[in-house]
Symmetry: C2
Subunit: 432 residues, 2 copies
């Protein structure tokens, strides 16, 4: 299958200057050729034509930390103290969710992701075989891991999570890769974490974990172990693996060096950290130190969307505030964080750039029909600082069109709305 | 003219519990009757019917601080140190803008405001007679003031600003009211400000001013006057008038009491304060003290949109961060800040609520066709914390439909895009 995208107004991709008036030829899953419109007559054969007149092309966004099925809890609990929010609302709701609920909650999440320009997401949740099912159907790219809380899941859960990781690695024509995901150093004991460390190494699996999210976590660790969570994990060589650490909001002295020296991959979740009042992660410091920072939405219940464009603007503006520096995190830097940095964080090769030989994971954004793109001084600024996801027009993953002219091609909108709504309200009703 | 809106799923308005399955009858400019759908047969006569099935109704948003024509500078200068941004980019661009540019820049701004659910805005800029022209045509409600910088405008400018304020008060069938707008205490000298204070009092005109925006402003005032800007103005009784103060990010000891005692109206601009790295205003403190806080976008060049929904989410999440408190600024509080508080700040009566006898300034929001509204646990949370302005379906101001089914009724979209684009790029080209 060959797809030709013609008349592209502008292509934005990390590390490359802005390219204007371009075409892109996609062959099977791959970006085969990028060229100037004046050379388009070189392309003799294609099966499908997309006219990108007055549209710009970017790599699809890469959401490196989510709990997709939590869409079912959108708006269910807001503006509450953290412990009451978790204990009285989130955990009881999750306890009522079965594998089918997770399937439909994830389906709603995938609709939202595709509509808002996300082409890859990383998920840590439960019933991941069902998540993999809907990922397969949707056409999106995903890095999946069964979340492990030692007290709930124990050895049996770990065995199941490992089996999932091994069985599903490379599933859906290679669109699915997997990780091991101990929830956090405060919900998994040292021996459990050491076991996961070894299993990850033996099976070449990356690890996805929550780390240094709240002040309370740091405080408790210092009291219990006389070590920050980062130092505690470093002590037993947990970071010898590829580790994707979500949040990393709070640093104790020496933590930054450990993160940098061990090449820890950061999933920054500014919206969730703000909503739950956990603070602002020191992203500028990480970047200055050469640490790879990517962007995640976290679950919908602490966001309350999976919209990476909102996340990007929040990330930039919060760093400007934190460092009293309006130059902190430029649009160019956002573009890297939201695309190629995400691919690195998820250990994905040939993903995250508009570049020949890379996976054809990209989006077309309409710059003609929204006030947010007028005037056209700088479309990347207009996108990240002004627009909303309503301008995402077409989304392609691994060479397959998942949305065109804002119409979803692989997911049944009405069925997903119906199922997600019914299941979410039923659980809320039961818990009332 | 009587407009009947039927089948409203929910009405949200400050101070009133959620109302479901309602109708609203608008007669001329006024909300005449609100009732349950079961009683709609009481309404025998109407000229125009709107079916609000699967839509919710809110008061239109009230943007209390903007410089609308700065839309022409969207994306023109970002991620720069404040002084270079102003001196090398914003001021030179503004110096090239003529009255026609301001007209078309404001027209673009009004399109954006109406599309994003804003029904009233407060503007401080230049060539305000031209701003009033397009406000009149658009149908939006506006509070207009000619901005005054003493060194530029002097006595002549003040005379002109006063004449504008008197001539245009009550213009456009009462949709336009006016203020006097000395730019800031650091760009207008004491005698100039005293003169404005007296003219405001004599002519019953409110005052719109920038106040305590940056740390530098506070530092300079303390050095020059040994007083904070707030105390400096209080010393010569500037606050005896109705004063709308934009920003108020930084408080020195005693400032909060002065603001509260003098009933100073705050226009909070969280996005602009973040982008320019000025900080986070102490909104929670103001509210706890009973100070009226409203919401503004500031100019597009420091935002970069006029989208009050983005502003509202930012306002809430920044307060949660600032006070390490996830309960800070609930959705209920946002609803007040973005509607009725704005009306109070702008000295508008009978505006800002969905209430019989109030001006019919309202919006219909589609909760059926966006993932952001699924599931429907809480539509106000879904609106403020998840949605984007793409769900705004219909906007009515003073009983006139300005947008219906997302189609603008009073403004010529193509013409405005063309003119704004042409003029903005021409100025940028000239300055290159």
């Amino acid at each position: 299958m060959k797809i030709l995208i013609k008349n592209i107004a502008e292509i934005y991709s990390p590390f490359v200057e802005l390219r204007k008036n371009q075409f892109i030829l996609i062959e099977d899953q791959i970006i085969k050729k990028i060229g100037k419109m004046s050379k388009i007559n070189q392309i003799k054969e294609y099966d499908y034509l997309i006219d990108a007149d007055k549209k710009i092309v970017l790599p699809g966004y890469i959401n490196t930390h989510s709990h997709a099925a939590m869409t079912l809890m959108r708006g269910y609990a807001d503006d509450m103290p953290l412990d009451r929010w978790l204990q009285n609302k989130i955990w009881p709701f999750e306890a009522e969710m079965d594998a089918d609920d997770i399937y439909w909650g994830t389906a709603l999440a995938l609709m939202e992701m595709i509509k808002t320009g996300t082409t890859t997401f990383s998920d840590m949740y439960f019933a991941m075989d069902r998540v993999a099912d809907i990922v397969g159907k949707s056409g999106i790219r995903a890095v999946l891991a069964e979340g492990l809380i030692e007290a709930n899941d124990g050895q049996e859960g770990l065995n199941k999570a490992l089996k999932f990781a091994l069985d599903y690695s490379g599933a859906a024509d290679g669109r699915i890769t997997t990780m091991l995901a101990p929830h956090a150093p405060y919900t998994c004991g040292r021996e459990y974490l050491e076991q996961i460390r070894d299993l990850a190494r033996e099976n070449s699996l990356p690890i996805h974990i929550h780390l240094s999210e709240s002040k309370k976590e740091i405080f408790d660790f210092l009291e219990k172990h006389q070590l920050s969570p980062v130092k505690y994990l470093a002590e037993f060589d947990f970071f010898a693996n590829h580790v994707l650490a979500a949040h990393c909001v709070h640093l104790e002295s020496g933590d930054l060096e450990i993160i940098s020296d061990n090449n820890i991959q950061i999933a920054h979740n500014p919206m969730s950290n703000a909503k739950l009042a956990n603070g602002i992660a020191p992203v500028k410091k990480y970047l200055d130190k050469g640490v790879n920072v990517s962007l995640g939405t976290d679950g919908v219940s602490s966001n309350n969307s999976l919209d990476m464009l909102k996340e990007a603007k929040m990330a930039s503006y919060l760093q400007k505030i934190k460092y009293s520096d309006p130059t902190a995190i430029s649009t160019k830097s956002i573009l890297e964080i939201i695309t190629i940095n995400g691919a690195k964080a998820l250990a994905l090769s040939n993903v995250g750039l508009i570049k020949e030989g890379y996976q054809a994971d990209l989006q077309l954004i309409d710059i003609n029909n929204s006030t947010f793109f007028y005037p056209h001084h700088n479309n990347l600024s207009n996108l990240f600082y002004a627009a909303d996801s309503g301008s995402v027009d077409t989304v392609i993953v691994a060479g397959k069109v998942l949305m065109e002219n804002k119409e979803l091609k692989t997911l049944d909108t009405e069925k997903i709305y119906y199922e997600a709504e019914k299941r979410a309200l039923k659980i809320a009703q039961k818990l009332r």
